[in-house]
Symmetry: C2
Subunit: 466 residues, 2 copies
């Protein structure tokens, strides 16, 4: 019954574990029955007592046997492990491709050229948070203070001041600090929308947002991006037809297209929002990379129906996860509640870091340098990539993303796989499209887009295809 095969390439311990598992699962060793002692089993199986002890330990860890000190090992009662029904329900392919990219990217260690990444290199950010800021916060005990629900009061004052400088009439009391921009979107959805509501999103736009909206059972209505902003005719038709509750958009340096909306486009978007009475959530994650003078929805609307979402994840510290929401009080109240119910409050330590960086003027100086560095990298990489055959429509000189089209006839999926084999992570355009368009496009991070490995890889691929 317990005999193992000494000549097998399978280790004796493994054989024993497998054997006993089989005996238990087929009921030949019933629940509660006593197993032979270690010594007996070692003799009967012809193995050492050490092997048997190890096997019993592993069977215990698997929950198949239980040791009762003093009386030996027994077959455990087999407990049916409940697996919730919703796991199956939501395992839709489209979600997992998005999740797969997100987690694949965030978990991935062996990427050499992360040109599909949404993050800038740590070296580009380091000047903004000198170690002395953390030492100071270590001494002042920021790790031991529990944060306010809305976020650090000093930080909110500084944020409100920054917004007012940009002609956005925000009050510190109508600001809520979040764990990054995606967290802000989730709280806004939970606070202000209901399952079945129609919401407008740009096509293309940030894919994690689409997954978030779908998970709340909202109906996503796409609004194409044109060179000067949202397609106004499509926006009006969608508003008329679907009566949406909210439009998620990004007027400055849109992710992934990199384009900024014109002032005229912003005005028209708000007129349509007024006419069809929907709210607008405007993503300002990358706005600080745009030069002064850019016009946004939040500025024109003055936070009446626009909800402002800012973040320090991309341009200051990805490891801090600090974002924020500014909106009129009647919208902030339910968002406050959603934050309490989600996680009570954020990290006082991380909030203090951002407060210190803002208060010291370091953020302002850092952004001036970063804007310059990003613009230079953008110019260099756009030039090189056009040389090898990518088509880059945007003529903007700002922002961290290039939206590039591969030559006609190329297979984008094969390109992704070939790139991966060389340690190059590419972000396919279709990932950003709620309607799975943009098949021939890729979003490229300018910090990595002039990498010689990428440039030579694309050059080879494109000339082989030509």
């Amino acid at each position: 019954m317990f005999q193992v095969v000494r000549s097998s390439s399978i280790p004796l311990g493994d054989q024993l574990v497998e054997k006993v598992t089989g005996l238990i699962q087929t009921g030949r060793l019933p629940e509660g029955s006593r197993l032979p002692s270690v010594r007996q089993l070692a003799q009967r199986a012809g193995v050492s007592t050490y092997t048997v002890t190890q096997a019993f330990e592993r069977l215990s860890a698997k929950g198949l046997v239980q040791s009762r000190p003093g009386s030996g090992y027994f077959v455990a009662r087999l407990r049916r492990v409940p697996v919730p029904a919703r796991v199956e329900l939501e395992a839709s392919a489209s979600f997992y491709s998005v999740l797969g990219f997100a987690s694949g990217f965030l978990e991935q260690d062996k990427v050499i050229v992360p040109v599909g990444s949404g993050f800038l290199p740590a070296a580009w950010l380091q000047e903004a948070i000198p170690p002395s800021i953390l030492s100071k916060l270590g001494r002042s005990g920021a790790a031991f203070e529990s944060a306010k629900v809305k976020g650090d009061a000093g930080l909110r004052e500084l944020l409100a001041e920054r917004l007012r400088t940009a002609s956005i009439p925000a009050a510190a009391s109508d600001l809520i600090v979040t764990s990054g921009a995606s967290h802000a979107f989730d709280l806004i959805v939970r606070a202000l929308l209901s399952p079945g509501d129609a919401v407008l999103v740009n096509d293309p736009s940030f894919f994690v947002l689409h997954a978030q909206l779908r998970s709340h059972n909202l109906r996503l209505i796409p609004v194409p991006m044109l060179a000067d902003g949202s397609d106004l005719e499509a926006l009006e038709n969608a508003a008329k037809l679907h009566r949406p509750r909210m439009f998620f958009t990004q007027s400055l340096l849109q992710n992934p297209t990199g384009s900024s909306s014109s002032a005229a486009n912003c005005h028209e978007v708000l007129k349509i929002a007024d006419r069809y009475d929907f709210l607008v959530t405007e993503d300002h994650m990358l706005s600080d990379l745009a030069g002064a003078g850019a016009i946004t929805l939040a500025q024109i609307d003055e936070l009446r129906r626009v909800i402002y979402v800012g973040s320090f994840t991309k341009l200051l510290g990805p490891g801090l996860r600090i974002g924020y929401i500014a909106a009129q009080s009647s919208l902030i109240a339910p968002i406050f509640k959603a934050k309490v119910l989600n996680l009570l409050s954020g990290s006082a330590l991380c909030e203090s870091v951002v407060r210190e960086v803002l208060a010291s003027g370091k953020y302002r100086r850092h952004i001036v340098h970063l804007r310059d560095r990003v613009a230079k990298a953008r110019a260099v990489s756009a030039f090189q990539l056009r040389q090898v055959g990518l088509s880059i429509e945007s003529t903007s000189s700002e922002g961290m993303f290039l939206w590039a089209r591969i030559p006609p006839g190329m297979d984008p999926d094969r390109l992704v796989v070939a790139a991966q084999a060389q340690g190059i992570l590419l972000a396919k355009g279709s990932l950003f499209s709620p309607t799975a368009q943009c098949q021939d496009y890729f979003r490229l991070n300018v910090a990595y887009a002039a990498d010689p490995l990428l440039v030579s890889f694309l050059s080879e691929q494109f000339s082989a295809a030509a």
Copy 2:
């Protein structure tokens, strides 16, 4: 039309703002119409041009007037501000009493004796995170790394090791780091439960959890706490009647009663969970304050149907907001997804702080000291409070909460109000009861429960009533 009353105690500027607001709101100054110039208005109202300029600025900030550079001030187009329907829907009194306590407490600055607080004083925690840890992380650039979705790999290894030491067979890959325990509960609910599901909660238990469960439209079924754990008869009846999907409980140093479940009680709870096939979420937020040898559901069940929730908020660093979930893989997968959709990932900086504190052995030493300090404070405060007339049923010598009953006939609400007037924050027992029981009970934090201000306050109140 613009005349102000010079003799009034209301400042002239305020009068002017109010007057113009009234004229706009009643339509006497129609949308788009031009306001008198600053100079004209100053003359007509008989005030200085400075007062008029300030008033116009305030009217602009309120969105009532708009300045067009070069042509003066105009009445703004009044935009209807959409207020979402859900705000009204969920404004139930019970929720707001909970939210009011949570936010009132977390936002409150003028509390002198926060004996109703769930937090220990910062001074009791400080030894665990010396400033050198933050300096080190500042130099290594933890603020610039984006965290993995599951959380820092090194931290998860250390957490899994700690769990295995407590006989809980956890794998680092089946751990997810969260922003505190409340965040863990929210992710578990979002991942594994559906609206309308019945869930079991102890009566009393942590009130924020109740608000979280209600906000997801779950049916809360109360299971009374007895001296040795959950009321087993009530648990079995509730399971039979309501077919719950999950039981939220806390076997060690339960919040608020401070009591720990007996090993026998834990065994019976798991038998019932097996029989009626529901999952168990076990809160281990305070478990490290219990001496070795304590038995919990997670240990007996070995994470088959028990989901383990741990946290470093209470006993290490409230400002870090680091908690974690350990569960079997099939449950961790949907929780992972819920975390991505909620906020992508946590703070690499805060995760690194906890990793360093655990790896250096500082947490272990800190907990030994803290346990001792809490136990001493508990003994002293229990003695003093019994002297003044509070009845404290729990005989446990561990844990940070005393569950105390006021003398018969006292009005608990009046006690709360009287305490507040003296800067004493009390946490009423009924706050913790999903059925609004426990009217005569209070939860007292042992760190503040021997404060002379509290002791003399209670002594006066009780002797006045007697």
